[in-house]
Symmetry: C2
């Protein structure tokens, strides 16, 4: 056994260590691409164990890859340089709601959906709702600054983090922010750490902001003859004084995929649909739903569905949730992107995506959180088909370029990880990327925290073929 492993394992209970091949293999992938075998897996259950692991790793310059439930779509937890996978999902789940402060303290292993369930017991809400909320841990959500449909009205994970406890790459425990809504005491380390993809340390506790739970909600599904009109309908809605909680979009290919996968009564003949959820006081909802109908008629919607029961509304949202599994059935490999553009550029981005689809003759479908410009173009392909994957790689690159050219960004909510690292300089410029690197190097001089993520390695290119 190597020296570092010996020193590390001394202070960690044996049943929290995984060193056999089968065990390590199950930590070699996430929901994105590539397989990378770690040398050791540590299931940390308290901050002292995290401190120990980081101090040893820092002393011996061993890479550390923090991991929650591995639902990441951008390779965040992949141990691309081997070393240690630090599994935080087995940490005891602690949720402590401070009702009068409208805050909640959580351990990193808590399921994201569990936070909202707990909040609702007190008439409160934790708004961030990534699709993986029922599986993913808050630790992973914090590392990636996860979004979700409700981001349109309520913002993303970062907007709800008041304070953090972090173990630094050198094994020091620091507390950032606090329990107050307002805090301008020095640099905002809290918002720097949230979304840093585990490259600046390991989050061991978080204090999150809660909001009063809206008294009511109302769903509406609208059909369109083409994607551009759907895009325009979204812009008109958002400048009408109405701010829906969610505006989701599905193109014809997604609708067809869902109906073939699990028929849900979606309008198969529509070129696109948008699904809106309004929330707030019931009196307001009545007024807003009427305004919305007027807007949609005016812009040329070809159909509208306004569910009158919760069951009917749930069915529509269930159909939306089926998109990912449904399109995954089309072909063996699914390349999921989340390039994001300013809202007004959604129609242009739709056109660019159509061009890219035709140019490389690929199965490309589009859905996503259109209300905030956060689209999810997905390419369905077969990673066994090397020629096709080369075309996919080119297409993905052009999708990133299109987003940035339109004033958008590489990633709205999935993160950079390994997949988008090669394109960072294209968006940020050399000087911008350099200022990020300076922070990374000043916090992690030995480069042990999640190396190989965010920052492109020399000559790194997008590769969608495994290994």
């Amino acid at each position: 056994m190597e020296k570092w492993m010996q020193v590390l394992t001394e202070k960690i209970p044996n049943q929290q260590l995984i060193s056999d091949l089968a065990g390590r293999y199950s930590y070699s992938f996430d929901a994105s691409f590539g397989e990378h075998l770690p040398d050791l897996v540590v299931q940390a259950k308290n901050r002292e164990e995290v401190v120990h692991v980081l101090k040893v790793a820092n002393d011996y310059h061993i890479p550390v890859y923090p991991r929650g439930q591995g639902t990441c779509l951008s390779g965040g937890p992949l141990p691309v340089h081997g070393g240690i996978v630090l599994d935080l999902s087995q940490w005891p789940q602690e949720i402590d709601v401070q009702v009068e402060d409208l805050t909640v303290s959580v351990s990193p292993s808590v399921r994201t959906a569990g936070i909202n369930e707990e909040a609702e017991k007190h008439g409160l809400m934790y708004p961030p709702d990534p699709s993986s909320a029922h599986v993913a841990t808050i630790g992973g959500n914090l590392a990636e600054n996860s979004g979700g449909p409700r981001g349109l009205k309520y913002g993303v994970t970062k907007d709800y983090v008041l304070g953090l406890e972090l173990v630094t790459p050198e094994g020091e425990i620091i507390r950032t922010g606090g329990q107050t809504i307002k805090n301008v005491t020095g640099f905002d380390l809290t918002k720097l750490i949230v979304g840093s993809e585990g490259t600046l340390g390991v989050i061991t506790e978080a204090t999150l902001k809660l909001v009063p739970k809206p008294l009511g909600k109302q769903t509406m599904m609208i059909e369109f003859m083409n994607l551009r009109t759907a895009g325009a309908a979204i812009s008109h809605t958002l400048t009408s004084g109405i701010l829906p909680a969610k505006i989701e979009m599905m193109d014809q290919a997604c609708i067809a995929a869902v109906e073939n996968f699990r028929p849900s009564g979606l309008p198969k003949d529509a070129a696109a649909i948008i699904i809106v959820e309004l929330d707030g006081h019931p009196e307001t909802l009545k007024v807003e739903i009427e305004m919305l109908q007027k807007i949609m008629r005016k812009i040329g919607a070809t159909g509208m569905t306004i569910p009158t029961t919760e069951k009917e509304a749930d069915d529509i949202w269930f159909a939306r949730k089926q998109v990912s599994p449904a399109i995954a059935k089309i072909k063996p490999t699914k390349v999921s992107e989340d390039a994001t553009v300013p809202r007004s550029k959604i129609p242009d981005m739709m056109d660019r995506l159509q061009e890219i689809k035709d140019k490389y003759s690929l199965e490309l479908v589009v859905f996503g959180h259109a209300g905030d410009g956060n689209l999810h173009p997905n390419i369905l392909c077969d990673k066994a088909d090397a020629a096709e994957m080369k075309r996919v790689e080119k297409a993905v690159q052009e999708i990133f370029e299109a987003a940035v050219d339109l004033g958008g960004t590489l990633s709205g909510e999935h993160g950079i990880g390994t997949m988008k690292a090669p394109f960072m300089e294209y968006e940020l410029g050399a000087a911008g990327l350099d200022m990020m690197k300076r922070i990374k190097e000043s916090w992690d001089p030995n480069g042990i925290m999640n190396p190989g993520k965010i920052f492109p390695e020399k000559g790194q290119k997008l590769v969608l073929t495994d290994g």
Copy 2:
């Protein structure tokens, strides 16, 4: 003329340079304490001039102190080590609203209130509303992450910044974030820079998020027999499902000061009042105002005023705005703090403040944004009275300690600057402060950007006497 000054002035139009004593003197103070004379004032009007100033300053290791309108309450723009004051208030004012994107691009010199005025023309709103909004520039608001009454419902400046253009301490231009609501491309430099008090570079442009303007608003003033009940009323309101846009509080001393300064019909016999503003759809407002009345009756409010006209409401908010000028008349010197505590700790903080007031027999009054725990304890004193000022210094220190002990923070919205720097380690701990310093040093190796702010200098103590 010194060499650096010679090199610097070569590329800056003469009329944008101020080197005479009278001119420099007018840049030697802000709205806080202390006077510090700069060696030179440069009124920069474009990014190239900022780049030139910073490159020269960095080459010759000359301190640079960016400044807007100098309304800062924590010493942000004070040139404590001499050098250059970089005045950005003369920069041409540019406001460009992108209506469909719900965003606005601004130059650093734009008046904060001007942004909201422009947004309202399109049915939109820029929520942050610091009391100085009609004078202060957005550049200063960004540097200090300014708050304001509406912070309760809408958050603070940082919550509305999507992207920045920054000139780094070494004179490189970088762009952070962008125009999209969602962006997880690398570290969040945008939110790191906002609130960094000009220590990480000079902001030359910002893209801000706008929201739909609420369709209506309703004010309510409630009277209480004691401060604790007022505090409890706030907690009850916020856990009732109602989230007011503002909840402001004034204690008896503030009420008396306002009525003596400019009679506004405030209830002189009340121990405390809270002023609430609800906003949203008119139908919702009707329902919420009734709920609020029930809550206040139940908790033992001694009086309620519900204005029925906009004029009546404006009069109440005008009275609130009179507090600062009114209390300034009580004694020659006003020490304004903004220690912030978790909402549930407001009553405890009230008690601590009362104890401190008695212990040091000082004129201490309390008002502020009680809804988010952001209180403004103000001490009225006379800086000519050295003995009294020593007691004030002790009292201020105990106020900071009380806030931190109650799980709060040194500053909710005013910033650290020079005044609170000595207390940073008390709140952050040595390791936490060290991680902030690492960022500062990696971005500004020569320490030229706003030196003497945020980070305590060796042996630095709070001193409230000038010079």
